[in-house]
Symmetry: C2
Subunit: 474 residues, 2 copies
């Protein structure tokens, strides 16, 4: 079997790290399997999956939005448009018929950028959101935002001196993809305060200058807003300042805006970078990513999303088309999901009432859970949890006793990874340790999602573990 | 807009070529748009899409298989499992319920390798096909076969002296992906005779030795069986000989077997490379790709497929898992499509009769059309068309007059591209010219699919064009 041993492989592969589905997640899957046997011998009776933003996962409580599922179901089996007249609301049938006319069978490849009609609807959604025109020919439907980010990083890394500015902590898709393409991650640090996590233009500029000093070209600035894992929401002023920085240094702006509809407080307000770039009449090249996996849609399994290119030359758009054409097209089920996300039922339509009720419930549950969990975690000794006005996560900081640090070192683990493994082993709660996202030297955090049903029992368990852990190593 | 101009991009991107969705396809889309206006001024009234194996495309006549669509429809909207009892057959409801129990909501991310239950079903399908065990943990569900090929080529290209043996003519996914990852395509030439296209081990070994002489490491041998674009089907002896060659030179075997169920003649028989490797008790590392986009399923838009790893070390499988985990999971709709492909209704089940009728009809239509078209094209002056016992295409050779070659040169095009552009401009028939697949120097071919309905009228049109073209340049 020598011909396909790891030693013969692309060495960049070995550098790829993606903690969200790494050791902790794999171990939790094993525990889940073990729990199927009654004599499992584990100190818990269920695994609580808090490691990944997967709202419709078994055991979590976010149901799919009915309207989008009805439309998808009708398109899977078009005879239902007649035979299901007593089952489906008329607006779902009308939408399905409209899409069927445009797409034909959902079993056919579409245009590689996505169905033109759906791209036009995305453009209208963007125009309504921002008040500026959007060009459907500069929109690419993708298999979730991840596929788009991968494509863009592949484009931007032109040699081994190409870097991309990434927030620390960051969603590890960025470092993983940079490792895959041999690009250099240029970390800028987010600032953690009691009021939340902040992004400062000065800090980003420091990272830009450091890169230039070291002979590295900062090709792009990746910003996740609302933030993952930190849940921060940028202010308009912060965004304007960051756009000007990109202009100053001729840097492409990669705006990961997949959590744009997950806003939990009245103080926080999402503004798209598209709007800021247009307001400023800036010529900064911007790629803005969106997804159906998050928000209230939560349709991770469909793999749907899009990115919009703003101030990107036509020749570059043509090259993007060429590259996506090799993969033929994004899954049509995901494309339909995008259509339903950007064109939800509106007031007066038969499905509006239910859609409103479903989305209100999801928004409310997320906001309440996020607030509740942050408060509870904040009250624990050795833990501080900055508020998270956006996205789906908390990223509490651990202040661990010396003995715990020593035990972690002994075990060959970072302190937070040591903590997270113990948490999983003892309670079945699966989180991701801060080392998977990056953090300042010497710090320890973990990320947990705010998606789990039965949040009180879950936080009780976590608290109990934490107090015992602190006591054990005090 | 300077910051994102083509000159600043990864230079490998510019080398990527994918003719199947290239200039001809883009032009055909423009014609399709123009035809929506009554005063379009074009010399034809419809575009005939013969450039891509997309069976369910508008205007072609391959319908989806009912059973798979019913299952998918039920999983999109689970309340139908009750409310649709009078609409859906009981076995489709039972299958949907079984999958729902295993998967939960299809809106959730699954295991990154694909739903474990579906992988077990794939393993059983492989075991039944080949008579050898298959390990679900060494199976990866993918977004069509293309995503799997991309992943493997990314793995195999370890430096700028890594090459992959590819057939010429080839499906351009291979050269496109090699260009993306900076690998070296090592062409071996298929032999065109009146009896069909052949693959000779001697020719592959010539290419291996040439590479080694030039300091290039042949990392893998890509074989497309049944062939694309040439429609050949390897004999068992040819396959055994190729496996031994891989053994001799320690080469990974990439077996693209997506057309395994598209066999049109009684003489031709598909044998999987998995079976050959097992029969020979060979230790060759084999990756075998399959897809729901072709065969009788034809569900391109779902983006479903899988690959099986045979004789691949566990450590390498773990690295493959790590890489796919960054993309989270293949679309669940595609995974369900794979389940229905490997577990079709069986005799005695309610849906079996319809499934049998649908698949028989598709097999028969493809076989008849392929034979009919090859005969008609073969009778033309300046064209010869080898038989195509497998896959979905014909790859006729053009023997063009000197004046046509001169006109092509004048136009700055290869002869076959010049021909294909003229064909599209004058008849609306979109094919792909041979230069998109590669061919021996000085030759000219084109690929056309055998999927188009109304094949007589279509071939009449093609014939008329061809005779006029030949006459014009005689």
């Amino acid at each position: 079997m020598s011909s396909f041993a790891p030693s013969t492989l692309n060495p960049r592969i070995k550098n790829v790290q993606y903690a969200v589905r790494g050791e902790l997640a794999i171990k939790s899957e094993k525990y889940r399997d073990m729990l199927k046997n009654s004599d499992h011998g584990l100190p818990f009776d269920k695994v609580i999956t808090a490691n990944i933003g997967n709202p419709q996962q078994k055991g979590l409580d976010q149901p799919p939005l009915t309207f989008g599922r009805q439309v998808a179901s009708l398109l899977e089996y078009p005879p239902l448009m007649e035979s299901g007249k007593n089952i489906f609301p008329s607006d779902a049938i009308a939408r399905a018929k409209e899409l069927y006319t445009e797409i034909g069978s959902i079993g056919a490849y579409t245009h590689s950028q996505g169905v033109p009609f759906i791209r036009k609807n995305v453009a209208k959604f963007i125009e309504q959101r921002d008040g500026y025109p959007s060009d459907p020919n500069h929109i690419f439907l993708t298999a979730g935002a991840s596929a788009g980010v991968n494509l863009l990083i592949n484009f931007l890394i032109s040699d081994d001196k190409s870097g991309i500015l990434i927030p620390i902590p960051q969603y590890p898709l960025y470092t993983a993809t940079l490792a895959q393409y041999g690009g250099i991650p240029l970390p800028y640090y987010l600032e953690e305060t009691e009021r939340g996590w902040g992004t400062s233009t000065e800090e980003v500029e420091r990272a830009v200058k450091k890169a230039i000093d070291e002979g590295v070209k900062p090709k792009a600035l990746a910003i996740i807003n609302p933030g993952n894992p930190v849940g921060s929401v940028l202010t308009y002023e912060e965004q304007a300042s960051l756009v000007k920085l990109c202009e100053k240094y001729d840097i492409v702006l990669l705006a990961d805006e997949v959590y744009q509809s997950n806003i939990h407080t009245d103080d926080a307000k999402f503004t798209s970078f598209k709007k800021v770039v247009c307001d400023l009449q800036s010529n900064v090249a911007l790629i803005s990513f969106h997804s159906i996996s998050k928000g209230v849609t939560g349709e991770c399994g469909r793999r749907g999303g899009y990115f919009e290119c703003v101030n990107v030359p036509d020749e570059t758009v043509a090259l993007l088309y060429k590259m996506v054409s090799v993969g033929l097209c994004p899954a049509v089920g995901g494309q339909i999901g995008v259509d339903c996300m950007v064109r939800p039922p509106v007031e007066g339509e038969e499905s509006y009432g239910l859609w409103k009720k479903e989305t209100d419930t999801i928004h409310k549950a997320l906001a309440e859970r996020t607030l509740f969990m942050a408060q509870r975690l904040n009250s624990l000794p050795g833990m501080s949890c900055a508020p998270s006005p956006g996205a789906l996560y908390l990223f509490p900081r651990l202040h661990l006793p010396e003995k715990a640090l020593a035990a972690a070192k002994e075990a060959g683990r970072t302190p937070d990874n040591f903590y997270a493994i113990a948490l999983l082993d003892q309670t079945g709660i699966c989180v991701v340790s801060g080392d998977g996202f990056g953090q300042k030297d010497g710090q320890a955090h973990f990320r947990l999602t705010c998606l789990c049903a039965g949040v009180e029992a879950y936080v009780d368990k976590l608290e109990k573990f934490h107090r015992e852990f602190m006591k054990k190593y005090e």
